[in-house]
Amino acid sequence: MPEFLSRQRWWITRVLLLPLHLFVFAIITFLLLRLVPGDPVASVLGPNYTQAAYLTMQRALGLDGSVWSQLGRYIVEILHLDFGSSIQTGRAVMSEMGTRLPGTLELAVQGLFFTVLLSLVLSYVAVFHPKTVLARIVLVYSRAAGALPEFVLAVWALFVFFTVLHVAPAPLGRLSTDLPTQTVITGFPFLDTLIQGYTAGAISMAAHLVLPIAVMAIASSAVVIKVLVSSLQGAIQDPATAFRITTGSGRRATVLSVYRRAAPAVVTLVGQMFGYLVGGTIVLESLFGFAGLGSYAVKAVLSTDYPAIQGFLLVVAGITLIVYMIVDLAVMTVDPRRRPGSVGSN
């Protein structure tokens, strides 16, 4: 058993670190938010209130006592997975998250999927057929990474495809307004239509999703292509490729082996892109009229709604950290040298 533990230590410690990171994150955000000016009690009560009403409200919102006793209560709460209730709406932060988060996550995952797909195809062209016109275009485009913000692209895409060509649906939500809304099963909108076999809904939703997803894929694939191309070129230079070719592997096997060796850097980047796409989703949601985390976050921030801000920061950080962890474990599984404490790790 001890030997098993010492051999498996790399992933066990990595998994155990996650709750610790989240816990530290929660405490930091809690303390930082208390440094910020603004009195949520006064903002809930409005301009006229009595001393007694202030104290009652303060107690009701859990803002009485010293910062440290508040922190103590907060820690006990989050250990019970209770993020409190929004000061403004009174609804539990956890249930608000439950209804809004899946839509945002689904869009981010779809965006990520098509980003990766597009990057894989274009990087293949750029690296293995470098003399074609398309390859040159891809390289120029990848060098322009960051010059095209997604919301500008989105406004332009809407102008062209909705206003001028009339092929895209109006940016007023996920479903056409004339269709009945679906019942919620998992909370992930597109997944729900598929599960229920609600074909008309699925088609309408897909039509609404084409533009935002295309915008995300085009805006964020530039960075991925840049890294993918440079690590593919690095992998081609590797002696292992020469070994493959000289020992008579076919073109297919050689190309696959090059991709496999380029994988760790790219997988790591894709993990980081996920966090970036969640951020991008928040902007796109407001443009395309999707319900999601973005509007909730903006509202919470503008009204100094402590529990809501803490709640969404913690949930978003939690999801990103889980993705980072999965990416780390994946990379460490593929490439044992990346495990902590391994001799060749660097």
Binding site: H21, P149, V155, T163, A317, D328, G341
Partner: protein
């Protein structure tokens, strides 16, 4: 002892004569030109534009014409004057953010990279700071910016400081990895043998050999801070209208674009893209290709909160 000035100039002449410095690389001014033009336009532009950027100057949503080159927006403000007027705000914010976050990132990256594997308090602080930065990065920049900027009010200073805090970890991580690499180089031991103390070592060898990643990355950060300013303006916590700013101009012009009045969104976004392009060229001219040879293929950094840095430190 003769006069004080004479030996000083003589010493300077001698220093020049026996200088052993490598020649400085030439800067390609052609690449610098577009960004200089934009800066010039931002400085003198508002004196040349036909209308004020913040007062209504004509009919609502009129198409581009001789009177209004870029048309007017949905409130009746002249788009041309606003696009030019916004250059000041956007450039000042983006340049200041880029410089500030690079300074913060370089200082932290240098300190953390150097002390990370040290024993005792310095090592603990360095490792702890890395972890804190990593945790901070788990929240998307736009969300973090939303929280920071909205709390400190939307002003040029709070936008700059807020975004610099958000973007500094990027620079920090790049510099840190370079410092970890440079730390193992043989010329550091040679410099120690030449009698340099650790502080001089950092200033003369470690900093110049590890800062280039951050300098090269400045064009990316410039673009990012322009876009982040715009995105924050887009979700509603950026500079308040009618202050001209490209992002909030595009955001408030969205409905115009959807109803076919393309000009109020088109021109600010074109201005934004040209600026990003021009400054990325400038940054390339100033800081590009200064990587030490053969070292450019610095391993792609591992994702945040990964303990691989410890392994690297232990391996030393």
């Amino acid at each position: 002892m003769t006069t004080a000035t004479l030996p000083l100039t003589a010493a300077r002449a001698e220093r020049r004569k026996y200088s052993a410095k490598l020649p400085r690389r030439r800067i390609d001014f052609l690449l610098l030109l577009p960004s200089l033009l934009i800066v010039l336009l931002a400085i003198v532009g508002p004196f040349l534009t036909p209308y004020s950027a913040t007062t209504i100057s004509g009919a609502v949503s009129s198409a581009p014409s001789m009177a209004h080159l870029f048309g007017t927006d949905s409130v009746g403000l002249d788009v041309f004057s606003r696009v030019i007027g916004a250059a000041r705000y956007n450039l000042v914010i983006a340049v200041a953010t880029t410089l500030l976050c690079t300074v913060i990132g370089v200082v932290f990256g240098l300190g953390i990279g150097w002390f990370e594997s040290a024993r005792g308090a310095a090592g603990l602080v360095a490792r702890g700071t890395t972890r804190l930065f990593d945790l901070l990065q788990a929240v998307p920049a736009i969300l973090l910016g939303l929280v920071i900027v909205s709390f400190f009010g939307a002003s040029v200073i709070s936008l700059t400081v807020g975004m610099a805090i958000i973007l500094a970890p990027i620079q920090m991580r790049l510099v840190r990895i370079e410092v970890l690499r440079v730390r193992k180089e043989a010329y550091l031991d040679a410099a120690r043998m030449a009698g340099q103390n650790e502080l001089k070592l950092l200033a003369r060898h470690v900093l110049p050999n590890s800062i280039w990643v951050a300098l090269e990355n400045m064009s990316f950060l410039f673009a990012t801070s322009i876009l982040l300013t715009a995105a924050l303006g887009f979700v509603g916590v950026g500079l308040r209208p009618p202050t001209p700013e490209w992002g909030s101009m595009i955001s408030s012009a969205t409905n115009d674009a959807l109803t076919g009045r393309w000009w109020s969104a088109a021109f600010p976004s074109i201005a934004m893209m040209i600026t990003v392009w021009a400054f990325s060229n400038a940054s390339h001219a100033l800081f590009g290709r200064i990587a030490p040879k053969k070292l450019a293929a610095a391993a792609a950094s591992s994702s945040p909160v990964v303990p691989s840095s410890e392994a690297a430190a232990e391996a030393r």
